[in-house]
């Protein structure tokens, strides 16, 4: 049941070298650099996104994800969900307005998988980059690299995904769109949506808490995915796998790494989900095909290389 959470809002990633990271996210992925702050953090967005930013890079001595944040309809939703999160048993923290430039107050909470999440409702809206609000052209000129259109979702690894998935469904109103079940019916992976997208966030069961598998960015077409693959080769960027298709969500995809080892995905297409849809289920015995639909074999890196 929808609870007033709309969509992924922003993700803050740790990087080992800011200049190299900016080169990856801005010049290769083609995100727009929109701001920097006095902590040295860099703010970026995909060109179709109306809010000011969706990706924040922070230089640190480890890679990985600091937090991912979801945008709600209004401040009233944030207030009521904050109360529900407290009652659910989360450790909840208010982050004041302006801690991220152009963003209102955020409510941060922890989770059984060891990840930090946030909800918020207010962020400066600068509109789609390079387009006017009235009579907009099809796309802006001056885009670079893969021309990624938006931050789409992230896949997170940690222990007790059952707990985090329950939190997202019961408190935040996400639906379970797709899942992987083992022979005993234990859920090993869950793909959750709060929209019509196949996933707004996904979880895979894993012993280490708080791990990031990848941050994903949306492209329009399969041709764009191939072009992204060309750019990965042209720039000698560390590749994981692809271009290929997932069985889960059926998205067309390529995985590669940022210069600090955080995995990036760009993808196109994929299934849609309405609230009355039963979850799509893959069996663990078909896992190779579920993850990589063409190879039908899971590579070791997909399950073990995390930040």
């Amino acid at each position: 049941m929808k609870k007033g959470v709309m969509r992924p809002g922003h993700i803050q990633l740790r990087v080992l070298d800011m200049d190299e990271a900016v080169s990856h996210y801005r010049d290769l992925l083609g995100l727009i650099e929109v701001d920097r702050d006095d902590q040295g953090r860099v703010y970026l967005k995909g060109w179709t996104e109306v809010d000011k930013f969706s990706v924040v890079l922070r230089e640190a001595d480890s890679a990985g994800m600091d937090f991912v944040s979801y945008k709600c309809l209004n401040e009233g939703v944030v207030d009521s969900l904050k109360q529900e999160l407290i009652e659910y048993g989360c450790n909840v923290e208010e982050i004041p307005e302006g801690e991220l430039k152009g963003c209102g107050r955020r409510v941060r909470f922890d989770s059984p998988t060891g990840h930090q999440f946030e909800i918020f409702a207010t962020k400066e809206q600068t509109g789609k980059w390079g387009l006017t609000q009235k009579n907009p052209e099809a796309w802006p000129r001056g885009l670079t690299g893969m021309k990624a259109t938006r931050f789409d979702h992230c896949l997170l690894y940690g222990p007790n995904i059952a707990g985090t998935i329950d939190l997202f469904r019961e408190v935040l109103g996400f639906d379970l769109a797709e899942q992987v079940l083992d022979d005993e019916g234990t859920r090993l992976a869950g793909f959750l949506t709060v929209s019509m997208k196949a996933h707004d966030v996904a979880f895979i069961e894993h012993p280490e808490p708080g791990k990031l598998h990848h941050a994903s960015f949306f492209l329009e077409t399969w041709e764009d995915v191939l072009r992204a693959a060309d750019l990965i080769s042209m720039t000698d960027t560390s590749i994981d796998i692809g271009p290929t298709r997932h069985g889960l969500t059926h998205g067309k995809t390529i995985y590669f790494f940022d210069p600090s080892g955080n995995r990036s995905e760009v993808f196109a297409g994929g299934d849609y989900h309405y609230p009355d849809h039963e979850p799509v289920t893959w069996g663990a015995d078909t896992l190779g095909k579920a993850i990589f639909y063409h190879d039908r074999v899971l590579n070791d890196r997909f399950l073990t290389v995390l930040t």
């Binding site: 990985g64 894993h206 012993p207 600090s260 080892g261």
Partner: protein
Amino acid sequence: MKQPINATPYPQDTHRIHILDSEAVFEARADLNLLVAMEKARAQGIGIGCRGGGCGKCRIRVLKGEYDSKRMSRAWVSEADEAEGIVLACRIFPRSELVVESEMLPLAEPYQPRSSSKLQSAAIK
């Protein structure tokens, strides 16, 4: 692996690398990180992960030799580790002949990035 042009002081130099575990021996260019040099030589013995100093999969101990290093994740290599020669192969650049061996990760869990996770076990079964 992308390296800034200025970070290649000895591009013509190559150094012999010995990996004890796999008994692999290969020539590594001084301007490539050790992991990518191993991949280019089609040698094996060090785990291949992100190639960016983040995931810890190529954690090794350098037993002998000189190298320069770039920043690597403190999640996998502490300052004390680094002082002992424990590094991520994707973040070091050989400056002499090196002898290395792979080094298990310091995790409380029995799980190691190189070993099977629950999902993987299910898939294999």
